[in-house]
């Protein structure tokens, strides 16, 4: 499978080796910052195509990976689908539900496969948690609490800090938790949320979100782009016969460097010292689906639901009342 990557910033560079390991060949790279595209293309012996729409139309490409800011995902999905390309799209799928509808319609019309990178479904710790729940180790789950976040990311042109582009910490960061919660506990009934999106220009966003699921489960998610440094994930699941807790800061390795550290990275990614990176596992899952070996763990409908949950939370924070799905 020949892969074209649109968006060669932190995530494009991050995904490329994972895709290669899963059997894709990177043949084309596009980025408005040409140097980013050139750097990645050189590593893979790929060509640089300045116009991302032209990349979508290229006959030399089978699959398009969209690693751009969120608000332009839909335009590239639609263009790639129109040219019969299969699509890997970073999460969140789109910035609005209207964009989700248009992009999904284009995908269905073209009969291509769309995979959205809800990578937390592939994180070993989250797989282990779901397995313990599914095996009944804590009985019937009733209450869930998660935390995800740390330092506010910037991204090229600080797009993460533009709420209209990223949707803030709610749509960009804890959408991971929203998707995993729905994966583990089914569809939500309603959501209530509070956030600090009015401070996103200062590099601060913080969201507190509570879902009530149709199963009765209550889940409260906190997302932070408000911490001065670091990145952390925590989860706690309470059932009628036990509990599970997880805290990423209790890691096997802790290192401290003397002397000058590097500049703050553009985006913070959780580190998972395991043989198979979850980012590779999602690419391998996508590859298996493309080869008709199995259905994907993340369906396009799952990706739309995740956006619906994120936008529902944002709407609730705006109105001060719960939003029913």
């Amino acid at each position: 499978m020949r892969l074209g990557i649109i968006g060669c910033g932190v995530l494009g560079r991050f995904h490329a080796p994972c895709a290669v390991k899963a059997g894709f060949k990177v043949v084309a790279c596009s980025d408005p910052v040409r140097a980013n595209a050139e750097l990645l293309a050189a590593e893979h012996g790929a060509e640089v195509i300045d116009d991302a729409m032209a990349l979508c139309a290229s006959d030399n490409i089978d699959v398009v990976a969209i690693c751009t800011p969120t608000h332009v995902h839909a335009a590239f999905v639609i263009e790639a689908a129109k040219h019969g390309k299969h699509i890997f799209c970073e999460k969140p799928f789109c910035r609005t539900l209207a964009q989700c509808d248009d992009a999904l319609a284009a995908v269905k019309k073209a009969g291509v496969k769309l995979f959205v990178g809800h990578v937390v479904r592939y994180f070993q710790e989250f797989c282990a948690m779901k397995q313990q729940i599914d095996e009944g180790k804590i009985g019937k789950p009733g209450f869930v609490r998660t935390f995800r976040g740390g330092q506010s990311p910037l991204g090229e042109g600080s797009w993460f800090r533009d709420f209209e582009k990223s949707g803030g910490v709610t749509l960009d960061c804890i959408i991971h938790d929203f998707d995993w919660l729905r994966y583990a506990f089914g569809d939500p009934e309603r959501v209530f949320s509070q956030n600090l999106r009015e401070r996103i220009d200062e590099g601060i966003d913080y969201a507190m979100v509570t879902f009530r699921f149709k199963s009765g489960v209550i889940a409260t998610v906190t997302g932070s782009w408000a911490h001065p440094t670091g990145f952390k994930v925590k989860a706690e699941i309470c059932g009628d016969n036990g509990m599970i807790t997880y805290d990423s800061s209790e890691a096997p390795i802790a290192s401290q460097l003397r002397g000058a550290g590097g500049a703050a990275p553009g985006v913070v990614l959780p580190a998972s010292p395991v043989n198979d990176s979850p980012y590779y596992l999602e690419w391998a899952d996508f590859q298996g689906w493309l080869q008709d070996k199995h259905a994907p763990r993340v369906t396009p409908e799952d990706a739309v639901w995740a956006v619906r949950m994120g936008l529902g939370a944002i709407e609730s924070a705006e109105t001060g009342q719960p939003v029913t799905f």
């Binding site: 804590i138 019937k140 009733g142 209450f143 609490r145 935390f147 309603r190 209530f192 949320s193 509070q194 956030n195 600090l196 401070r199 601060i204 913080y206 507190m208 509570t210 009530r212 009765g216 489960v217 209550i218 409260t220 906190t222 932070s224 408000a226 911490h227 001065p228 309470c238 059932g239 009628d240 016969n241 036990g242 509990m243 001060g320 009342q321 719960p322």
Partner: protein, 326 residues
């Protein structure tokens, strides 16, 4: 010598208060009374304190103040009896199960000229005091938001009988953190949204998980979990935790995380042994000083009332599935 009496041992905190009183100089536990005479006699013998069958005799026994540790629903009647007898009062939390009862108790004590305190020992937990002082000193600048928990184990007994407790985990475990936030930030609550239900220990007839979203004056946004969700195998009874987001930084406080991990083969579960200061001792010491200084304890009846208002509004929100104003 200050003389104290305990009214009712229904709440297990009474045991800790009795033990704390024994540790203080110039303070004596001289009387006990319980509307459950058998329990009262047993516990009185345990602490070597005279037991009174009659409430009137108890109140006339020369005590300066009373600690009321009854079922929540009985707080009002006991406060009323003690206030009418001119005694200083420390009442277990929640002060009452309704705003009307709490208001009545506050007004009556004022009228009778006696001090009324609500048992909020968190105000005497050194890590919480330290963070309060740091916030007051401006270390974190303006405070924007906080995520808090007061989780616990299932207490059983009357706690899970709304006819005696007034409600479940949301009633039991909202008021401590509500009081800590008011005390730390110097602001009142304006709104609450609450999802609560019986989700962990099924069939108890009341909620054992409450997830609250609160707003305080000036738009400070708070998430709080009030629960009895700790597994029986969990290493400790529960927690009080806060993550506070400020203009100049973030501070987290895990109030009782001054602990050892104990692995005892006879118990076959990990236990946390707390080595931090005993906050009940601080609570009782302040109560004694409040009697001597003829003032309300640090956490007053009014503070108890404000916390009750949050709890009552939380249940109203859970019922209506709407955010409600406090």
């Amino acid at each position: 010598m200050t003389k104290l009496g305990i009214m009712s041992f229904a709440h297990m905190h009474a045991y800790s208060y009795a033990a704390s009183i024994k540790q203080l100089n110039d303070v004596e536990l001289t009387a006990a009374w319980d509307d459950d005479a058998a329990r009262g006699k047993t516990v009185s013998a345990q602490f070597n304190v005279p037991y009174f069958d009659s409430l009137d005799a108890f109140l006339a026994s020369g005590i300066d103040g009373v600690l009321i540790c009854s079922e929540n629903i009985k707080h009002r009647a006991m406060v009323e009896a003690a206030a009418n007898a001119g005694k200083w009062i420390l009442c277990e939390k929640p002060l009452a199960t309704t705003i009307e009862d709490a208001q009545y108790m506050v007004d009556l004590c004022k009228k009778k000229g006696v001090g009324l305190g609500t048992a909020f020992p968190c105000r005497h937990v050194p890590p919480l005091v330290a963070v309060k002082n740091e916030i007051a000193d401006g270390k974190y600048g303006q405070i924007y938001a906080a995520t808090c928990t007061n989780n616990g184990s299932f207490p059983g007994g009357w706690f899970a009988d709304p006819a005696q407790s007034g409600g479940g985990a949301t009633m039991d475990h909202t008021v401590h953190v509500a009081d800590v936030l008011r005390w730390m930030l110097g602001k009142e609550f304006t709104h609450v949204y609450c999802e609560c239900d019986n989700l962990i220990r099924h069939g108890i007839g009341t909620d054992d998980v409450g997830s609250l979203h609160l707003e305080m004056e000036g738009g400070v946004k708070i998430a709080h979990v009030a629960s009895w969700n700790r597994a029986k195998s969990f290493p400790t009874w529960g927690d009080v935790t806060m993550e506070i987001i400020g203009e100049k930084g973030v501070v987290t406080v895990d109030a009782f995380n001054q602990k050892l991990n104990l692995y005892n083969d006879e118990v076959m579960k990990t236990q946390w042994v707390n080595w931090g200061d005993n906050s009940d001792l601080g609570l009782v010491r302040d109560f004694v000083e409040s009697i001597r200084e003829r003032r309300d304890p640090i956490a007053s009846g009014l503070d108890g009332l404000r916390a009750v208002e949050v709890t009552v509004a939380a249940y109203k929100s859970a019922e209506s599935k709407r955010r409600v104003a406090i």
